[in-house]
């Protein structure tokens, strides 16, 4: 997708949620207020870059689809369009974790809960973050429960 849009005149951004990928911080839950605030700040920063025309769009599926709605709800001035897919704003009725208000135990606490948390704790790419690689990863590991890391 990045190549498709870059070749057609867009600056395409794969943004790592705090505590994941090459980002600082620790991932403590999905869709935290900090996470949404980070998205708002990222939109503003991207709009101000010398290669940006000041107009930012967000797109995504599932988790990132939720993010587009959550950031858009905060009204960042530079955000002009969103394209979410496989999303909901009714997390207790239509989400993968809850259906009709009932927690999907097997999926939420086992399949998704254990795998996502463990993957979030993976190290950043050394060539992307340089000398802070080990500090970032150590912070991430210290902030993640040992039970989860052991899976």
């Amino acid at each position: 997708m990045a190549r498709y849009f870059a070749r057609r005149g867009y600056a395409f951004v794969n943004l790592n949620v705090r505590g994941t990928g090459n980002s600082q911080g620790v991932s403590t839950d999905e869709y935290t207020a900090f996470e949404t605030q980070d998205g708002y700040d990222a939109v503003g920063w991207l709009a101000e870059q010398p290669w940006s025309n000041g107009k930012v769009g967000m797109l995504g599926a599932s988790y990132s689809g939720f993010n587009t709605l959550q950031v858009a709800a905060m009204g960042p001035p530079a955000l002009k369009a969103i394209a979410p897919a496989y999303f909901t704003d009714r997390r207790y009725t239509d989400d993968c974790h809850y259906k009709g208000g009932c927690l999907r135990g097997y999926y939420d606490m086992l399949t998704y809960g254990l795998s996502m948390v463990a993957m979030n704790a993976l190290p950043p790419f050394r060539d992307a973050v340089g000398s802070q690689w080990s500090d970032l990863w150590e912070q991430r590991l210290e902030g993640t429960p040992l039970l989860i890391l052991g899976t």
Binding site: R3, Y10, V13, K55, V56
Partner: protein
Amino acid sequence: MKTNKRDISSAKAYEYQVSNRYRIPTRSGIELGATISRPTDDGKFPVLV
């Protein structure tokens, strides 16, 4: 109704560059990592996140 559609599939094909070393500051003080693919041409472009 007249629409203003741009067929991006037939638009100019830009050469582009990719970097995974972008650090985006946030008000909380942490930096977010980003990989950005963007045209190498001079100029200003819309951004997709």
